[in-house]
């Protein structure tokens, strides 16, 4: 029997309380006496939240272990307060078979810092043509429920329809990278607008996102299946999500921390650290995303953590790799732009970073996204809302350094993360 005693934590920002964790489960909550044999974690003044769940992470293993491994990505996730991450399928080889999914699962478990849940590819090799072995991935030990060709949009409406029909049978969901390939081709790398016009960069228009969300919403309605919109980035995309939800369509959506804060004008110096897909958008879109996250139109925050080697970023802007790091900074960004501004309270932050993503991915069955109640598995994140942290890319747990937050200061730091009552990060103050 192992016991961990957490003192004085403010559950969801409420008054301080003690928590007794016994064998990985929250055993008691209240004003408690310190048990004799328990390890004590002083959380006085810290806010306790359910462990964060990331619907959208690129861990690069197998294939690009020089940029991230499941071990390094797990460490970065734990440092960011995450207790579960969904590992995207665009590895090499692609996670499009049961064997590939089980390998990701096993590597994550061996590491043990965070529950690594593989995402399965929708189509073989992410080619957008033939369905991958969706059912076998689901029946595997990895119990895959979220499928995505992320990085590429399932552009063919017929393929998307079949995928939705197929996964409905076992409660799966398709997470779509909404980018109409004809309206925003592979070279599109800058929000289409005045900045792209001035810089002479290939534009990625908002409409390329919204038309796919609209199409998928109708396909979800037609098939009675569930679709999830990965990284919505535009006001007009939000508008379609809002409409789909009002129409009763089973559609959910996520937003990234970077799209909640960084804007397209950062591209003015052509620094590829700001090159990401979908691209950074203007301030009006950022505002629409914040409002939609606060009012529940957008269900979840997801990082789209995308490590890249230095040599893959040091090309001309149009040739450089898409993507930026995000696991370790997600909480600080969301706290800064949503909580400290008064747009969301701690309960809402727990909803968008833990409960909603856990539910969307079916990880609530493993006790993720809980309500911090007695009897739940102790997936916990302790944060210090007053700590001021300046991001230093060199201290990252990630193997990569494509960090757009380097040098920025935020209020809010993850102090400790607990996975099933075991500390996966921190504890020292």
């Amino acid at each position: 029997m192992s016991e961990l005693f957490i003192t004085g934590a403010r559950l969801l920002g409420g008054p301080g309380a003690d928590l007794l964790i016994r064998d990985g489960v929250i055993a008691e909550i209240g004003s408690l006496d310190v048990p004799r044999r328990a390890t004590v974690l002083d959380a006085d003044g810290l806010v306790a939240l359910p462990g964060f769940v990331d619907l959208h992470t690129h861990l690069r293993e197998p294939g690009r272990e020089d940029t991230e491994t499941i071990a390094s990505g797990s460490a970065a996730a734990a440092a960011g307060g995450f207790t579960a991450v969904l590992a995207m399928a665009n590895t090499s080889p692609v996670t499009d078979t049961a064997e590939a999914a089980e390998r990701v699962l096993d590597l994550g478990m061996a590491c043990g810092l965070v529950d690594v849940q593989p995402v399965g590819a929708v189509t073989k090799g992410l080619a957008g043509e033939e369905l991958a072995e969706l059912g076998l991935m689901h029946r595997s030990r990895a119990r895959v429920r979220v499928f995505s060709d992320d990085g590429r949009c399932v552009g063919d409406a017929r393929v998307m329809r079949r995928a939705l029909e197929y996964v409905r049978g076992f409660g799966g969901v398709i997470s779509q990278h909404s980018q109409d390939p004809a309206l925003a081709g592979p070279s599109a790398c800058c929000h289409e607008g005045e900045v792209s016009g001035r810089l002479g960069l290939p534009g990625w228009p908002a409409v390329a996102e919204s038309v796919v969300i609209a199409r998928d919403a109708q396909l979800a309605r037609h098939t009675g299946s569930r679709v999830h919109v990965a990284h919505v980035t535009t006001a007009e995309g939000v508008e379609v999500v809002r409409w789909a939800k009002a129409a009763g369509i089973a559609l959910t959506a996520e937003v990234t921390p970077h799209h909640l804060m960084l804007t397209t004008d950062l591209l003015t110096d052509y620094d590829p650290v700001y090159k990401v897909n979908p691209p950074l958008r203007p301030a009006e879109d950022v505002e629409a995303l914040r409002a939609a996250l606060a009012d529940g139109t957008i269900d979840a925050v997801a990082t789209d953590h995308a490590p890249h080697a230095r040599q893959d970023k040091e090309h001309a802007f149009v040739d450089a790799a898409f993507g930026m790091l995000g696991l370790e900074t997600a909480f600080a960004v969301v706290h800064e732009v949503m909580v400290r501004t008064g747009r969301m309270d701690w309960a809402a932050l727990a909803r968008v970073m833990s409960q909603a993503p856990a539910r969307i991915a079916g990880l609530d069955e493993l006790g993720h996204g809980g309500r911090l109640a007695v009897g739940e598995p102790a997936h916990l994140t302790l944060v210090d809302p007053d700590a001021v942290v300046t991001v230093d890319k060199e201290t990252s747990m990630s193997l990569s350094r494509n960090n757009p937050w380097h040098g920025r200061s935020f209020h809010g730091a993850v102090v400790a993360t607990l996975l099933r009552g075991r500390q996966s990060f921190g504890g020292e103050r």
Binding site: E192, E194, S196, G197, L199, G200, E314, H315, A316, A321
Partner: protein, 315 residues
């Protein structure tokens, strides 16, 4: 002046005036029998061209040589993919050979800006993707001013594929700094995104109607090259339709002359005769097209001189 010339926005009105005055002196030297100046002796200039070019590369090369710099041309295939050597490694390899200036043309917008952050040498943008071509804008301004005098208050129309034109992007800045009134003309599909707010912010006008703009009697009409690959890109239906809508046809040449007898015609080259410009317009007495080429060397000598010769000679 700054250490690099990456964008036309790097040049103030005074910088432009100084460069054009120096270019005029260089132009005189160009007419001598012996054209060599000792100004840049001992300096090494590398023309690093990742994209094909004849006139820009050769004019930079001649400009350097006439000022006694050691000029070396390197043509690379460029990194169109993330495989192979990174752009940074490529330029660091080259500048490791003690180079004073890198003249760069690259098919990617912003490549020169990025390189300037990695190297100690002066970087001169000789055309980056669909972004800018600052020395072209300088030679255009030089050529127009030779014929029209001060460009303050003059009306210049820039016509054609604006979306993909680095010549347009640099010219609209340089002409604006010189006080010219600019109208840009293009079919809707070749207007850059965000042109509405951009035009308001930078103080130029936009139009889809070339006939109206010509009837207003502009002092200069700059025709942009239609790149062949655009014609299959669905930007406009056919070459014939483009010419009818946006070409400087012989009819429009007559209309231009009627509206403003002093109006001049420019084209950065290479021309598609019969597409964006008729032979009559290209070869008209009002055409400055060959003057532009001739000015290319003088203007690039002026740029190299002011960037490399240092303050001690930039009196």
């Amino acid at each position: 002046m700054r250490r690099h010339l990456l964008s036309s926005a790097d040049l103030s009105r005074d910088d432009i005036a100084m460069l054009l005055a120096t270019a005029a002196e260089m132009h005189d030297i160009q007419r001598r029998d012996v054209k060599k100046l000792p100004t840049l002796r001992g300096r090494t200039i590398i023309n690093l061209f990742f994209e094909d070019s004849t006139r820009t590369r050769s004019s930079f090369e001649i400009a350097g040589k006439w000022m006694s710099a050691d000029t070396i041309n390197i043509t690379g295939k460029g990194s169109s993919t993330s495989k192979g050597e990174s752009l940074r490694d490529t330029v660091l390899t080259i500048t490791a050979m003690a180079v004073d200036a890198l003249v760069i043309r690259h098919m990617a917008s912003g490549a020169c800006h990025q390189v300037a952050g990695w190297v100690d040498a002066s970087v001169i943008n000789a055309g980056d993707g669909t972004h800018e071509h600052p020395t072209q804008a300088l030679l255009d301004a030089y050529t127009m001013a030779q014929r029209l005098g001060d460009l303050q208050g003059r009306h210049v129309a820039i016509v054609g594929d604006l979306t993909h034109s680095r010549v347009f992007r640099s010219n609209v800045i340089t002409l604006g700094r010189l006080g010219a009134r600019v109208t840009v003309v293009a079919p809707p599909t070749l207007m850059p995104s965000g042109i509405g707010s951009w035009a308001v912010a930078d103080g130029f006008a936009t139009s889809g109607n070339l006939d109206e703009v010509i009837a207003s009697g502009p002092d200069a009409v700059m025709m942009l090259r239609v790149q062949r690959e655009r014609m299959s890109g669905g930007f406009f239906p056919t070459a014939r339709e483009y010419t009818v809508g946006y070409g400087l046809t012989r009819e429009r040449l007559r209309a231009l002359t009627a509206a403003n007898g002093e109006a001049v015609i420019c084209h950065p080259g290479p021309m598609n005769r019969g597409l964006e410009i008729s032979p009559e317009a290209a070869d008209a007495a009002s055409s400055l097209i060959l003057d532009q080429v001739s000015a290319g060397v003088a203007v690039r000598m002026a740029v190299l001189y002011h960037l490399l010769a240092g303050e001690e000679v930039a009196a």
